[in-house]
C-alpha cells in the first residue's frame, strides 16, 4: 500500500516565510514532496476565503508562515491574519474538519531549519489525520 502523501499549501509572507523558504532551499534541507508555496506581500493579505479555498481545492493541510507578532512590516497584518484564521477554524468546525488542518507559524528571515522542521512535522500529523474528507 502506498503511503499517503498529504498536500500542504503554505502561504508565506515575503518578509519572513519567503526568505526562510529560500534559506531552507539554499541549505538543501528536506522538504515535503507535495508542497505548494504561495508568496504573499504580507500575511494580512490572506483573506479567510483563500484559506477555505485551499482546503476546498485539494489541500490536506494549510499553513501560514508569518512574521512574529509586533514584528509586522505593515504593523497589523499578522494580527489581522490571526482573526481570519480563527474565523476559518470556526467554519471548519461547522464542516467537521479538524483544526490541525490550518495553522499559523511565526518565523524570521533566517528560520530555514525551523521552516522545514515545521513542514515535516505537519506531514506526519496530516498522515495520521488522513486525507481531507472535504476536498
Amino acid at each position: 500500500m502506498s503511503i499517503f502523501d498529504p498536500k500542504i499549501v503554505a502561504f508565506c509572507c515575503e518578509q519572513s516565510g519567503v526568505p526562510a523558504a529560500e534559506m531552507a532551499k539554499t541549505l538543501k534541507l528536506k522538504m515535503p514532496d507535495n508542497l505548494e508555496l504561495v508568496p504573499v506581500p504580507c500575511s494580512g493579505r490572506i483573506e479567510t476565503l483563500y484559506l477555505l479555498k485551499a482546503l476546498e481545492s485539494g489541500a490536506d493541510g494549510v499553513v501560514v508562515f508569518a512574521c512574529y507578532e509586533e514584528n509586522c512590516r505593515y504593523l497589523q497584518g499578522n494580527i489581522r491574519l490571526k482573526g481570519r484564521v480563527g474565523y476559518a477554524k470556526q467554519i471548519m468546525a461547522k464542516i467537521g474538519l479538524e483544526s490541525e488542518r490550518l495553522e499559523i507559524f511565526h518565523v524570521a528571515t533566517n528560520s530555514g531549519v525551523k521552516f522545514t522542521e515545521i513542514l515535516m512535522q505537519k506531514v506526519d500529523q496530516l498522515r495520521q489525520l488522513g486525507p481531507n474528507p472535504a476536498k
Partner: protein, 223 residues
C-alpha cells in the same frame, strides 16, 4: 442600514439537503456592509457548503452571484438566466431581497441564508447596534437625536424608568440607558428644557405596522 447575520450552518444544510445544484445569491448593499451576505461572505459560505456536502458524500454544485441590490427588481431580474439553471436559491440578502426573488421567480424555491436582525449603525469595525425601528413617525427632534423606540428596552416616550442605574439599562446591564443618553446629550446641547414637554403617545395603529404592512406611493414617480 439593514443588519443581518448568517443563519446557523446546520439549518442551511438542512434546507439544501434535497438539492444538487443551487444559486447562492448575495446582495451588494446593506448585507455587504455588515459582512453577512456580500460577495465575499457568499463565496465563503458557498465554499463551506461545498466542502460539507462532499464530506457527507452528497456533493452540491453552487453558482454564485451578487446583484448590486437584490431588493430592486431590475437587479434581481439579472439573475433570470442563472436561476433557470438551478433547482433552488439560497439568498443571503435581507428578507426584503429574498421576497423580491420570490416575487419574480414564482417557480423557484428561495431559502434565506441570513437572519435579518435590525436597522442599525456600525459603531466600531465588526460591531453593529440597533438604532431605528421604522416606527413611521420619527420623534428624534424631541429626543436629542437618540431613538427611545429602538434603544429603550421599554420604548418609553417619557423616560427614564425607575430601573436606570449608573447610565445602564435595567433590562440589559451592559447596554446604555437610552434615556440617560437623551438626558446627557440634551444637557450638553443646552436643550434640557425641551425634556419638560411631554411626548404624546404614538399612534401605533395608524403610523406603524400595527395596522398591517405599510406602503408608500409616489404618483409623480410612477411610470
Amino acid at each position: 442600514m439593514i443588519k443581518a447575520e448568517q443563519k446557523p450552518f446546520e439549518e442551511i444544510l438542512e434546507y439544501l439537503a434535497p438539492y444538487g445544484k443551487i444559486l447562492l445569491s448575495g446582495c451588494g448593499a446593506c448585507v455587504t456592509v455588515c459582512n453577512a451576505g456580500g460577495e465575499k461572505d457568499g463565496a465563503l459560505l458557498a465554499s463551506a457548503l461545498r466542502m460539507a456536502r462532499r464530506k457527507m458524500g452528497k456533493p452540491i454544485e453552487i453558482l454564485e452571484s451578487t446583484p448590486a441590490r437584490q431588493c430592486e427588481p431590475e437587479f434581481a431580474q439579472e439573475l433570470t438566466d442563472t436561476i433557470g439553471k438551478v433547482e433552488a436559491v439560497l439568498s443571503v440578502s435581507c428578507g426584503v431581497g429574498v421576497q423580491t426573488l420570490a416575487r419574480y421567480f414564482p417557480a423557484t424555491q428561495i431559502f434565506p441564508g441570513v437572519n435579518t436582525t435590525f436597522m442599525g449603525e456600525t459603531v466600531a469595525h465588526g460591531v453593529w447596534e440597533e438604532r431605528c425601528q421604522a416606527c413611521g413617525n420619527c420623534i428624534l427632534e424631541k429626543t436629542a437625536g437618540i431613538c427611545p423606540i429602538a434603544r429603550c428596552a421599554k420604548q418609553l416616550l417619557n423616560g427614564p424608568c425607575g430601573g436606570s442605574s449608573k447610565g445602564k439599562c435595567e433590562i440589559k446591564r451592559e447596554t446604555d440607558c437610552a434615556w440617560q443618553l437623551i438626558y446627557d446629550r440634551s444637557k450638553s446641547l443646552g436643550q434640557l428644557h425641551r425634556l419638560s414637554a411631554i411626548i404624546p403617545a404614538k399612534q401605533w395603529g395608524v403610523e406603524s405596522r400595527d395596522s398591517g404592512p405599510r406602503s408608500i406611493v409616489r404618483e409623480d414617480l410612477k411610470v
